[in-house]
Symmetry: C2
Subunit: 738 residues, 2 copies
Amino acid sequence: MKRLQSLALLAIALCLSMPAMMAQSPIMGFSDEASKSQLQLEQDYDKLLKATNLDEWMKYMTARPHHVGSPYDKKVVDYVAAKFKEWGYEVRIEKFDVLFPTPKLRLLEMTAPTKYKAKLIEPAIKGDESSKQIKEALPGYNAFSIDGDVTSELVFVNYGIPADYEELEKRGISVEGKIVIAKYAGSWRGIKPKLAAEKGAIGCIIYSDPRDDGYYQGDVYPKGPFKNEYGVQRGAVMDLPYAPGDPLTPGYGSTDGAKRLKISEATSLTKIPVLPISYNDALPLLKAIGGPVVPANWRGALPITYHIGPGPAKVRLKLEFNWDLQPAYNVIATLKGSELPDEWVIRGNHHDAWVHGANDPISGLVTMMEEARAVSILAKQGHTPKRTLMYCAWGAEEPGLIGSTEWVETHADELREKVVAYINTDGTGAGFLGAGGSHTLEKFFDQITHVVNDPQKGVSVFDRRNARNIANGQPSWSHYKLSALGSGSDYSPFFQHLGISSFNMGFGGESSGGEYHTMYDSYKLYKRFKDPTFQYGVTLAKVAGRTSLRLANAEVLPFEFKHFTKIVSGYVDEVTKLADKLRKEADSHNKLIESGVYDLVANPKDNFKTPGPKTPVPYFNFAPIENALKNLKNKASEFAMASKKGISNSANTNKLNKVLKSMESKLIRDHGLPRRSWYKHHIYAPGFYTGYGVKTLPGVREAIEQKNFDEVTEQITILSEVLKDFTANIDAAIKLMK
Amino acid sequence: MKRLQSLALLAIALCLSMPAMMAQSPIMGFSDEASKSQLQLEQDYDKLLKATNLDEWMKYMTARPHHVGSPYDKKVVDYVAAKFKEWGYEVRIEKFDVLFPTPKLRLLEMTAPTKYKAKLIEPAIKGDESSKQIKEALPGYNAFSIDGDVTSELVFVNYGIPADYEELEKRGISVEGKIVIAKYAGSWRGIKPKLAAEKGAIGCIIYSDPRDDGYYQGDVYPKGPFKNEYGVQRGAVMDLPYAPGDPLTPGYGSTDGAKRLKISEATSLTKIPVLPISYNDALPLLKAIGGPVVPANWRGALPITYHIGPGPAKVRLKLEFNWDLQPAYNVIATLKGSELPDEWVIRGNHHDAWVHGANDPISGLVTMMEEARAVSILAKQGHTPKRTLMYCAWGAEEPGLIGSTEWVETHADELREKVVAYINTDGTGAGFLGAGGSHTLEKFFDQITHVVNDPQKGVSVFDRRNARNIANGQPSWSHYKLSALGSGSDYSPFFQHLGISSFNMGFGGESSGGEYHTMYDSYKLYKRFKDPTFQYGVTLAKVAGRTSLRLANAEVLPFEFKHFTKIVSGYVDEVTKLADKLRKEADSHNKLIESGVYDLVANPKDNFKTPGPKTPVPYFNFAPIENALKNLKNKASEFAMASKKGISNSANTNKLNKVLKSMESKLIRDHGLPRRSWYKHHIYAPGFYTGYGVKTLPGVREAIEQKNFDEVTEQITILSEVLKDFTANIDAAIKLMK
């Protein structure tokens, strides 16, 4: 009674909606009647989900290391394929032979001022049997580092992101000819060697500082889930923001007969050798670095004073790799649509891991499998979805989204033609729903978040997520807000290369740890610290399952454009403000140089160098975008009005769905983004210097950030054309509704 | 040429004033003609200052530990007295026998889950001879901790300030019957045992976390100036915000015949035993604490996961002290004024140290001595200041401003009658001028900051200080802004007890370290890392010397009231906003409890307890203050206009000076602040729960903060009366000018 009363108060006081209220309103894309049967179907679906399945399957698939090309990866593939077959899916395994370098020689030693040879091992943990399978596992390394043998002084570069190099420049410190040592985090790892090489460094070491995911955050494994002193984060360092996928077949599938570049021609490999290490191995190196003390916000949690260098610490880094092709297996399980077999809803999660991968990716894969199992039972009971549903277990995601990218590149034409949406998951934990995706489906997704309940609290996953906003002093959400997608999982080829509406989702916030890409991402750790009873795995199956089923069964595809317009409007605000901010900063910085303030403040004991002037930022003509946005706004409203009335001529439904399905593709341009044509989406892209991190309106935003001022105007033109085409397509949809 | 040009630009672009411009304008309180001779005097004064004197005297006075009651403290006293005599001052040594507990027994051991006995030593440092004088030195302890022998589980309480106990309550953790371990910093140290005892703890350990002044900040001694693993900060923990001075003679001087309380009657001793330790000794204890992981902003820089407890770490803390009276010697050196011998300008700095005290207090003391030496030469040349100048080297400052407080309490009537202003220094370093004081003298002081140059940069100390504001993105200063004085040095009895206008000043920003109150605050460290050539010591002598000389020579005392009014106006804004903020916070917090948001967000795995409701904050009638402020504003302007015209009847000058000298005393009330009547100033006081940290408009502000809402209204009435009296006194001054 107390609980009920307080929830009612919550709903009233904070304008949250009640699951019950939402359940009575029709589902987007469904008539009142169709809504009813869909809701019934979802009730039945929920009842079929069994947490014990997730547990059993995870236990099997994480029993041994199963990286790309390993024997156990093939076992996992066969296991997944057999399950889908058993459930009645039409299953095929599509194999691509792709470049996957593995370490042949890893040497890191400090040669001055004292000697130290990095151990480069993750010892077995008592009580976690899988951590003993060291021989079968890939050791700590970064895939797509080039071979190399370099010796030089060390420079500590914090996270090794652009802002850090600005700090170095202020101090007159160059990394030219040096080896940099950077902390993990702050950006996607591949940015660190990329930027270091651009700045002239000849080698790159990346380590996990305990401040970011070690003892500073919580107890370390095996006492707690955080990274212990030996944990090493493996990971790819190819130039992902340039293009994911097999570096030898850029932009096309690595099919059997495909032309493959020579390794020397592959542009997305790193330019310098790079190696990840534990903080146990990093500590002696960092201790030996001299020079200025680092700025306050560079400091980690090791018990030392962090210095920048260069030197006197000097290291040798020698790396050699096996540059072999390895099989990336994609398991594709299809349930043909009962009414619209040529309209596809695709659900995907990768299966390859860096080691055992209990969290990444198996926690997401078992969720997807349980969705598919439940759907197959519904199908057998006569409820085959209208549209075709495909479940894909991707191979070779870890080295660079390779399995999914090659598959998408191989089948690009068919996918452009047929796919309604792509729904991705990857590692998932417990706590709060996190979801990103196409904002044309935000309102659609919001409805789902109100009808699936949090397993611990008995309120909707929306209400729990929103309670966190409120408790943190952030504004209460009127609806579930999808984040913008950057990169880092298999939605990228669908979304940013082909322009297919996409989602990525999972649970987190109560399952943090430091196991990511280490030897310790084990079943044992997952069961102790992540989602022990798989209650959130089942909850994710409810959310992602509804997302797939509603898209597959909708009478009219549930796209709408007011949310999208509002979001893009916000992005436009951001970029105009960004230009203003950078202009002000440059002007005031240059004034300070001119007036000598930096000199006056500097401590003569420090090796301070007056910073150079910043390029002044001109004013830009944003009017073309504003005008395009205004028309978009009008058409989005008109579409919403028309949607309320419904379609007058139902013969047009199929045509309308075709138009709606093509909406996201209007946001791409075949020429892609400047200097990275693989990325074709003009609203969302991973940042060229952030990696996974999204840059919205990437053409315009990055031109401003990178001070390519001529390009800003070009990109404004392109973006306004993109918005115009998108608006014209809405208009086409509106016409079909009248 | 480049430099000149850029400085001109600086001045023009940023509205900074040029030393030259100021030098041409008359000095506040001086006629045009008198200004000229005063400026000439100051030129002569500057020429007399010798950095080598500061060096020589510091070397002598820091040769051995010289805490209260030590043989070498008496040597220092005699040395200082002899110097003043040599320079021609009339010198007397006023001795007060005051309570000064020293350690007899210090035992700290962990009894569970493992055994550990704290070492409680600061080992000698190779290359710093003075650190070897361990037998003569006081070891690490907190003066005025009570005796005790307690054993209990540990609770880690972060800094042990009120906000930290709120976090504990959220987690349902009590310190009742426990021993708390708190980090140094975040408040004055005495707050930690005071608050712990209020919360029911039975013992308190304070340690220096390397995050605050150890390796996290920079290289540790002897490589750098920061605190090494063994450094222990000594210090008093008497209830200073209640009252400083000898705890046995509260409010009156500890003269020979004075009635002394029994120790059991002394209310300002701690209620529980308290001991400071190094982080070397703290680490085993902190490692052994279990329970929840601390909030992110509680984390220090030790290589562990910090937990709150309670237990399983259990410690025994046993402390016994010698509760002896010790002599506090004040050296009082007087130069009788040539025209107004009964108007006194007092300059002071203490001489007692915790150990060698090179920085604290000798760096300030040698500065003051060099000022006095130069002034004595000027006097011999026929330029004895008009008013009496007194130089005071205080004893027993470290245990609780005892020497100065007893002196002030003993001579209260005479001081109230005669003192124009008190100018304090204490430890000083290098870099940027920091000064706090009475805002009725802000404009006066601002002039000085424009005519004294920074020794490294050749611009005024004002311009260098302001350049830092600008470089940090803060607003450019139109004038030097005095901070408000809290407590922590010998100005407190003059300022907050008697209502005498005061200053406290020093240099810092380029001389940070962790030596404060440790065995390592040595001559060696000072010379390597603080102000190696004493160039900033000499600069401080120029600033403080001008402050004394101008006050001593002014025709009309240089008080004005527009600055003060603006400042107080700002404080009134702050307290009204504070009430609004607390009201909003309480309301929104209570709404969140009511609506169940905290429950929804909480992770069931954590031992989360829904916080209790906060007392709603009513609206207060601030009108009496606003009205008083309005009148004050008018009178302050009227006074400024009258000042411009000058005094029509010069016979009134003496009367006017009398009124002006009494201005600050109008801001005190004999009944003092609630529950601490020793503090009588109603504009500035040290915070009851911050210690050194100032609380402006303390009566009103602390009543709001501590939710004594009835008291808010009372204090508003008192404050508005105080402002009215102050305004009436301005009016009296105006009348004398007409």
